[in-house]
Amino acid sequence: MPKEQSELSKLDIAIFVVVVVAVLDPGARALAYLDPATGSMLLQLLLGGVAGALVVLKLYWWRFKEFFGFGAKEAGAASEETTHERQAEE
């Protein structure tokens, strides 16, 4: 069982939530004041149908790969992000 990832900075989490919620709400007004929580959103993605399920599966896949040490080398924007963060951590 892989150890929990080291604590994300609050900024990471805030950015994630804002991005997720803003992107998923096409008529994006001011956001609801309540923090919806990642787990709940992912659960609803799963319940919502195939497209959603694929997203969640992808997350599990990344986690699975990380467990075997294939962490950061993701194609596309993700690698840019993680490189940046690795630099920040050094």
Partner: protein
């Protein structure tokens, strides 16, 4: 500061859409600029008026901003709400009350969705009670539904309604203590840890508890990896949202306390050793008192199944709040209040540890003492429970009880009575001061004794007091 100044309600600060204020004994709500579009949209549908007419949502009347004075400076609208007889919190509710609140919330969500309206949260503190009837009080929670949006309140619903209910329904553990300690609800991941493997096979538990918790942990690590474009592919179709709500509603409706065994005190009504004659005498004493004094608000501390509360209401009391520590008794009391449509609100209370003030800055949620505005108190079969059962000094018990209301009825049970002999069976009798004489002396320090009556052959005494101040 003039008495007339508006005061902000301490619990109403999280949602910037608007706030609750009190002024001159009236309750107002401001609607701020950011909430106006949604407010007007919802108002146009007429949904809130309909729900208010049905007694499911609190009534709201638009009033002039001048009614609220300076506090309304930034508000576009000002609403006035009727006052609630008694504010209470989810950790004070008995199981059936929490369940009724959860069902009300889901029903409102479902009906709102059919009008193209969503709720911006799922807080259990948005429900209050009048008697046994739940009432949704957060007018500004309603806003326009956006196609494909997620149920923002799902996590909150689970942590503030579902898991506390499941704690009792699956494990037989009452929610009150945990909930009082964790006022934002029972954490998803923590609750999931309690679920034994065999229970995880249930699809509902698997979805809303296990999978929910597991995805919560997954999500914690995901931020670094998730790309906006990936998440963009996801949304929750309206039909799926509706189905999710409907299924949850169906599930919650089936939840009942796990332990069906009779609890200590609810059996009391059948087997306390009171003859019917004695119950009649006690009831008559209570009725006589209420008929004479006509109290608008009565506290029945140790209300058991609510028999005397009902008698008080029949004799002309305005509203009775009942308190008891026995879950079974409270459930019967709630059932009685619901069936007979009584202005009787039974709540969980451990008299030796009343609800404190808590929450943000220890001021967000009122303590029991903050809400003490009873005109009369009933304390039947309570004194010995505290003095002997819980070692509280007799003088202290009297002080506390008499402090709750200017007048009331207190029962004194003598040490020779079988009920107390039972309590002392396996203990040392360290109560030399526990006798009628001492009790009367303690009482007379604060109050005059208006009337007494011995209601049993064993010498149980009812006293009606009037505080001297």
């Amino acid at each position: 500061m003039s008495d007339d100044a508006a005061r902000a309600e301490p619990a109403s600060f999280r949602d910037p859409s608007g706030h609750i204020f009190r002024r001159s004994g009236r309750i107002f709500r401001t609607v701020n600029e950011r909430a106006v579009e949604d407010f007007e949209f919802v108002r146009a549908t007429g949904l809130l008026d309909k729900l208010a007419a049905e007694g499911r949502v609190i009534a709201a009347q638009e009033v002039a901003a001048a009614e609220l004075g300076e506090a309304a400076a930034e508000a576009r609208y000002v609403l006035e709400h009727p006052r609630l007889p008694f504010v209470s919190y989810p950790y004070e509710w008995p199981f059936p009350a929490l369940k009724a609140a959860a069902l009300l919330h889901l029903d409102i969500q479902l009906e709102a969705l059919d009008h193209g309206i969503a709720l911006s949260d799922a807080s259990a503190y948005n429900v209050q009670f009048i008697g046994a009837r739940p009432l949704f009080i957060d007018t500004l929670s309603f806003r326009r539904y956006a196609q494909g949006e997620f149920w923002i309140g799902h996590r909150q619903f689970c942590e503030q309604f579902l898991f506390p209910l499941l704690l009792r329904a699956l494990f037989g553990v009452p929610h009150n203590a945990w909930y009082r300690g964790a006022q934002e609800g029972i954490d998803t991941v923590e609750f999931a840890r309690l679920v034994p493997a065999w229970r995880k096979l249930s699809p509902r538990i698997l979805t809303h508890v296990v999978l929910h918790a597991s995805l919560q942990k997954l999500g914690r690590g995901a931020a670094r990896r998730v790309q906006a474009s990936t998440m963009r592919k996801g949304s929750l179709p309206r039909a799926s949202f509706r189905r999710m709500l409907a299924r949850l509603r169906k599930w919650v409706a089936t939840l009942e306390p796990a332990e069906r065994d009779k609890s200590l005190w609810h059996d009391y009504a059948q087997s306390h050793g009171y003859s019917d004659q004695e119950v009649e005498a006690k009831t008559a004493f209570v009725s006589g008192f209420v008929t004479e004094t006509k109290p608008a608000m009565v506290w029945d501390v140790g209300c058991n199944t609510g028999h005397y509360a009902q008698a008080a209401l029949a004799a002309g009391a305005g509203y009775v709040v009942g308190f008891d520590a026995d879950q079974g008794a409270l459930e019967l009391a709630f059932a009685r209040a619901k069936a007979e449509r009584l202005d009787f609100q039974p709540l969980y209370l451990d008299a030796t540890d009343p609800t404190p003030r808590q929450g943000w800055a220890q001021g967000e949620r009122y303590g029991l003492g903050d809400r003490a505005d009873a005109e009369a108190v009933l304390a039947l079969a309570l004194v010995h429970h505290l003095a002997i059962g819980h070692n509280v000094p007799l003088a202290s018990v009297v002080d506390w009880l008499v402090g709750l209301a200017p007048t009331g009825i207190v029962e004194f049970v003598p040490k020779t009575d079988p009920m107390i002999q039972e309590l002392l069976k396996l203990r040392e009798d360290i109560f030399p001061d526990y006798d009628e004489e001492s009790f009367l002396a303690h009482l007379r320090r604060h109050a005059r004794i208006v009337r007494t009556e011995t209601v049993s052959a064993t010498g149980r005494l009812l006293l009606r007091y009037e505080r001297k101040d």
